[in-house]
Symmetry: C2
Subunit: 274 residues, 2 copies
C-alpha cells in the first residue's frame, strides 16, 4: 500500500476514515503509522486540519504523534470559523502529502468548512493524489453524504437520523463512528434507505478504513468495522406519516471486518485478506 | 391463522415470542388478541405461567388482559422455586389451549424450570398442538439455546455473550429481546457463531413473532424484528486467547421486519406479506 502503487492504481489519494478516538493515543498509533507511511514516512508533510473545534489539544496530540513517528513536517491549520476558511489562500495547503482532518461535531465541521475554498482545495488535492484522513466527526464528513445526528437503536425509523452533505471526496459511502458503543445500526440503515447506492461503514473506536483509489478498503486497528450493504435490498417502506414507525428492510447484507480484512466497494465483496 | 389450519399444517402448536413489555398494556393488546384467537378465543383456556419471578403483578396484568379479551378461562400458575416445579403434577396443565410464559430474568427461569416435570409437560403439550407464548425472558427461554446475559455493542466479541440451554421447544433459533433499545446485535452475532444452524431474531418491545408448525414466522406489533441469518456465512474467527477481540464475520444476512411481514425459517427467506 505504498504511494507509487496507490498512484498506479488510480489518480486520487487514499481516503482514510478513522473511528473516534479511544483516548489512548497508543492504540491509534498503528493507524497513524500507516497513514504516515502512505504519505512518504520521514519525508512526508502532513497537515493537521481542524475546523470549528473547541478541542485544540486534540490537534496538538496528533501533531505530536506524527512527529514521534518521524514525519518530517507537520503543519497545523486551525480554522476557528467560516470566515477563516473563506479567507484562506487557494494554495494554503500546497505541497502537503496528507491532510488529517479532526473534528468533534459533524454539524460544526459542515457549517465551518462546507463549500469554502479550503474544502474545495482538499477536494482538488485528493483528486490529484494527496491522501486525506478524517478522524471521528472528520471521518463522517469525508463522503458525499454524512450523518449529522441521530437517535440510538437497532431498528430503522424515519426520525432516527439527520443527514447533510459532506466533503464529497467519495460518493456511494456513508460513514458512522463510535459504532460499537453507541447502538447506531438503526440510523445507519435509515441513512442507507435514502442513499440506496451507498455502502455503510460503522467504525469502532481506534479502527480505520483505508480506502484506496481502486475502491478497495482495508481495515487497520483494534476494533471492528461493520459493513452494511443494501445493494441487494428487495424492499423498504417508509411510512408517509408515522416518522417513528419501524421501517421494514428485506435483503440487507452485513459483514463484521477486523484488522487485515478487506472490502471491495465496487464488487460489494468482503474478504479475509492475507 | 386459526387453530384447525395450524394443526393441518403440522402437529406442534404455535410458538410465540413476545418482545419485552413496553409497560403500556394497550400496545401489547393486538399480540394478546392474536394469541387468544389462536387458542380458541372465547372458548379458550389459557394458562399464565410464571417461574422464579418476583413480579407477581406482571402475571395479574396478563390475566386481566386475557379476561378483557373475552377468554373463557385463564388460570395462573406461579412456580416460586424449583421445588414447586418438581412437585407439580404431570397433568397440572392438562386441558389448556395455550401456555403464556412470563419471566423477567432468563437465568431465574432456567434454574427454576429447566428439566422439571413442568418444563417436560410444556414440551409434550406444544408437540401435540398446544400453543406456547413467552414474553421477555420467557421468549428467550423458548428455544434450544438462550442468551442468559451479555454486554452491549454492535461488534461481536467472544466475551460479549453468555449462553445456556432453554426450554427446547424449537431448535435452530436464538431469540433476544429489548433489541431496539439495548444495542444487542453483537451478542446476537456471537450467539450465532456458536449456533451456526440457527436463525437469530431480535424482538423490539411490544412486537411478537408467531412461529407456526410450518416454521413460518409472522410479525405482529408496533416495533420491528431484526432477523440475522448466518447460513451463508463464509468466515468467522474467534481469537483463542483474546476474548475481548472483535470477531470477523463475513456474509451475514439481515432483515428488518415489521407487522405483516413474514419469514420462512426453513427457506431462510423474508417476505413482505400481504
Amino acid at each position: 500500500m505504498n504511494r507509487s502503487r496507490a498512484l498506479a492504481a488510480g489518480t486520487r489519494g487514499f481516503i482514510v476514515a478513522v473511528g473516534g478516538d479511544g483516548k489512548a493515543a497508543r492504540k491509534a498509533a498503528p493507524i497513524l503509522r500507516r497513514f504516515a507511511e502512505l504519505c512518504g514516512g520521514s519525508r512526508a508533510h502532513i497537515a493537521i486540519l481542524s475546523a470549528g473545534s473547541d478541542e485544540e489539544d486534540f490537534g496538538d496530540r496528533y501533531e505530536r504523534a506524527f512527529r514521534d513517528l518521524g514525519v518530517n513536517r507537520v503543519s497545523a491549520f486551525n480554522f476557528e470559523n467560516r470566515t477563516d476558511c473563506e479567507r484562506a489562500r487557494d494554495d494554503s495547503l500546497g505541497g502537503v502529502d496528507g491532510v488529517f482532518l479532526i473534528g468533534s461535531d459533524p454539524a460544526r465541521l459542515a457549517e465551518t468548512l462546507s463549500a469554502t475554498p479550503v474544502a474545495q482545495q482538499i477536494g482538488r488535492l485528493n483528486a490529484k493524489g494527496t491522501h486525506v484522513a478524517g478522524v471521528s466527526a472528520g471521518a463522517a464528513f469525508l463522503p458525499r453524504q454524512m450523518i449529522v445526528a441521530g437517535k440510538s437503536g437497532t431498528t430503522p425509523r424515519a426520525d432516527i437520523v439527520e443527514l447533510a452533505p459532506g466533503l464529497c471526496l467519495i460518493d456511494k459511502l456513508v460513514i458512522d463512528q463510535h459504532f460499537r458503543h453507541q447502538d447506531r445500526l438503526g440510523r445507519m440503515l435509515m441513512a442507507l434507505t435514502y442513499n440506496p447506492d451507498a455502502i455503510g461503514i460503522g467504525l469502532d473506536e481506534d479502527t480505520a478504513a483505508f480506502i484506496g483509489p481502486d475502491q478497495k478498503l482495508q481495515v487497520v486497528g483494534t476494533g471492528g468495522i461493520t459493513v452494511v450493504d443494501t445493494s441487494r435490498l428487495q424492499h423498504s417502506a417508509i411510512h408517509p406519516d408515522r416518522r417513528h414507525a419501524p421501517v421494514s428492510m428485506i435483503g440487507l447484507h452485513l459483514d463484521i471486518l477486523v484488522e487485515g480484512n478487506a472490502y471491495d466497494m465496487s464488487a460489494h465483496l468482503a474478504s479475509i485478506g492475507h
